[in-house]
C-alpha cells in the first residue's frame, strides 16, 4: 500500500514536524446547470458526463476519473481517509465522481456540494506552491468552462458561505505539546479573532484526533485570494513556533514525562491485541512527536504517517480484503501494528 501513499503523507514538506499538510480547495459551478440542491437526476448525470469529459481534456496534468456511484463503499471510504474526497461526497447519491492525479496531490470532485471542488493537497506547509498549482488547474478549466461568476460577488456557489473566491485554505497541524501544556485554547482564541476556524482531523463537524487540528479561513467573500493566503501564511508559522517552543520546554523541564508518554505509546502500539482507531491515533500522535524530537530513532515520519492511514477503518478492511465489524477491526488493527512494530 505504501507506494500509492501520496505526496502529502511523505512527511517531506517544510515544517512537516508540525504541519502535516496544506490544502487549498476552490468551489466552482458552471452556467446552464442548476445548483446541485435543485438539479434533477437526469440533468445531474448529464452534468457529470460533461464535466468528466472536460476534466479529461483540460491541461490539468495526468488525472484518472472515477464515478463514485459505481465505486464500492469501501473504495469511497478509502478516498475519504486519504482526504481526497469529503465524507459527504462518499455518502452522497447519484452520479458524482472524482478526478485524481496519481500522487494524490490534485483531486477534483464532481457533483459534491458544488459542480466542481478542486483540491490541491501538499505535504508540510506549502501555501504558495499549493496556490500556484491550483491556480494553474483553475485557469486551465476556466479556459474551457463557463464558470458561474458575478462581477459583484465573484464565484457563485451552492452555499453562501463559499461565495466570492470559493476558496478554502486548510493547514493540518500536529500540536501534541500545546495539548499537553494546555495552551490550545489560547491559540484558538487568537485564531478566531482573525477569522480563521479550527476543525478536527476530517474537517467540518469532526473532533480532533491524535492532536491534529485544521486551521482554515472562514471568510471567502470580500477578500482576495492573496489576502486569504496572507492571513494563513502570516499566522500559521507563529503556531508552529509556539508548538516547537512548547516541545523544547517540555523536553527541558520534564524530559522524563515526555519520554514516558512517547514510549508508553510505543509499547502499547507494539503489544495491544485490540485497539480502536481513536486510541491508535492518540498513540501514533505521541510516537510522531517522539520521532520528531529524536527520542525514537527506529521510525521515520513517513512510516508513522503511513500507519495513521493504514489503521483507518476502510484501509484496514482493504488490507484484509474483506469487510470487518468494529471488533474485528480492533483486532486486525492491533495485528497490523504489532507486525509493524515487531520489525523495529
Amino acid at each position: 500500500m505504501s507506494s500509492d501513499l501520496g505526496e502529502w503523507l511523505a512527511g517531506s514538506g517544510p515544517d512537516s514536524d508540525i504541519v502535516m499538510s496544506t490544502r487549498i480547495r476552490l468551489a466552482r459551478n458552471v452556467i446552464r446547470y442548476p445548483f446541485l440542491s435543485r438539479i434533477e437526476d437526469e440533468e445531474k448525470s448529464k452534468l457529470e458526463r460533461f464535466l468528466r469529459r472536460e476534466l479529461e481534456l483540460a491541461s490539468i496534468g495526468e488525472v484518472s476519473y472515477q464515478n463514485l456511484d459505481e465505486a464500492s463503499q469501501l473504495d469511497r471510504d478509502c478516498l475519504v481517509e486519504r482526504h481526497l474526497i469529503s465524507r459527504d461526497h462518499a455518502s452522497g447519491r447519484g452520479d458524482r465522481g472524482v478526478a485524481l492525479e496519481p500522487e494524490g496531490t490534485l483531486s477534483v470532485m464532481v457533483n459534491e456540494e458544488d459542480h466542481l471542488r478542486i483540491q490541491v493537497l501538499r505535504s508540510g506547509f506549502q501555501p504558495s506552491a499549493a496556490w500556484r498549482h491550483i491556480l494553474g488547474v483553475d485557469q486551465a478549466l476556466e479556459s474551457r468552462l463557463d464558470y458561474a461568476f458575478s462581477p459583484d460577488f465573484g464565484y457563485l456557489t451552492a452555499c453562501p458561505s463559499n461565495v466570492g473566491t470559493g476558496m478554502r485554505v486548510s493547514v493540518m497541524l500536529h500540536l501534541p505539546a500545546l495539548v499537553i501544556t494546555k495552551k490550545l485554547k489560547k491559540v484558538f482564541n487568537a485564531v478566531s479573532k482573525i477569522n480563521l476556524a479550527v476543525r478536527g482531523f476530517y474537517g467540518e463537524g469532526t473532533h480532533s484526533q491524535g492532536d491534529f487540528y485544521q486551521i482554515s479561513n472562514q471568510i471567502t467573500l470580500g477578500r482576495s485570494e492573496d489576502e486569504i493566503l496572507t492571513s494563513i501564511s502570516d499566522y500559521v508559522p507563529s503556531i508552529v513556533e509556539f508548538e516547537r517552543n512548547m516541545r523544547k520546554r517540555l523536553l527541558g523541564e520534564s524530559r522524563r514525562a515526555i519520554e514516558d508518554r512517547v514510549w508508553r505509546a510505543f509499547g502499547l502500539l507494539g503489544q495491544a491485541r485490540l485497539i480502536s482507531s481513536e486510541e491508535t491515533m492518540d498513540y501514533l500522535s505521541a510516537v510522531r512527536m517522539g520521532v520528531n524530537l529524536g527520542l525514537i530513532e527506529a521510525l521515520t515520519i513517513a512510516e508513522v504517517n503511513e500507519m495513521f492511514l493504514h489503521t483507518q477503518p476502510a484501509h484496514l478492511q482493504k488490507h484484509c480484503g474483506r469487510e470487518l465489524d468494529s471488533a474485528e477491526r480492533d483486532a486486525s488493527r492491533a495485528d497490523y501494528l504489532r507486525e509493524r512494530f515487531a520489525k523495529l
Copy 2:
C-alpha cells in the same frame, strides 16, 4: 537480590497460580511483664533482651535476630515489603526486633503489639504445613517461656480481638479474573458470612493492589486452632476454583480481550519511563495472570514475584544504594523494569 528472595516468593507452592502465600501468626505474651501498651521503656528493653536470648537458645531452627531500633528505616521498610514484619513494627519506637530464618519462612517479632508475634509464611496454599511448622516453634518456645494463659480464655493478648488462640491464618490470593468479571463482591459477601475477613496486600487497613486479596479468620476466641484452619482450608479452595473457572471462561469467551490486557501491561512495563508502585502492581498482576494462562512464555512466576518485590519503594532504594524521592523512585522503577523486560 534474588538469592535471598525467600521461599514464599518462589511461586512453587500448591495452587500458586492463584494463591501467593499462606501465613499463620500466633500472638503470645509472657508472664511477669506488662502488656506493651503499659510497659515502661526500661522494662521494654529488658523484655527485648530476655526474649532475644530465649529465641536464640530455643530449638526453632537457624534464626538471626535484628534489633529494629538500631536498623535503618530503609532496612525496616524492606522487611515490611517482604511481609516479615508489620508496618506498625517498622514505624514503632523503642527496643524491639525480629528473629528471622534465612529463607524468610519463619519470623518472630519481639515487642510488636504483643511480646511475641510468631509468623510462618509459605508459598502457595499450605495451611497444614504452615501449621505444623508454627506449632513446633510455638511448643519449643513454650517449653522455655511462661506464656500468659488463662484456662478460661486461652492465650492472653494486648488486644481482645486476639485472645484465645492468638492465631490468624491469612491466605494471599491473586484474583484478577474475579476483578475483571466483577465477581469479587459475591466472594466477599460469602466470606464475611463465615467470619473470614478480606484485606489488601499489606494487611489491615490497606487497599487491594495488583488484584491481591488477603483472606483471614476474624475470630480467635471460642474456636480451636483446628476449627480456624478448617474454615480456611474448606473455603479457600472454592475461591481458587472460582477464579480458575473465570479465567477459563474469559479465555473462552473473550480471549482477545484477555490477551490485550496481558500484553498491554507487558508493553507498558517494558517501555514506561516513569511508573508508580500502584501502576506497576496492576500491570504485573496482569502479566502474572498471563504467565499462568500460558500467554506469556518468556517469564516465570518467580520472576514476576521478584519484580513485585523489587519495585516496592524500599527495595528500589536499596537497589540504588540511596534514598530516592517519589519522582526519582518512579523513574528508577521504570528503569529497573525496562532492564528486566529488555532481556526477554
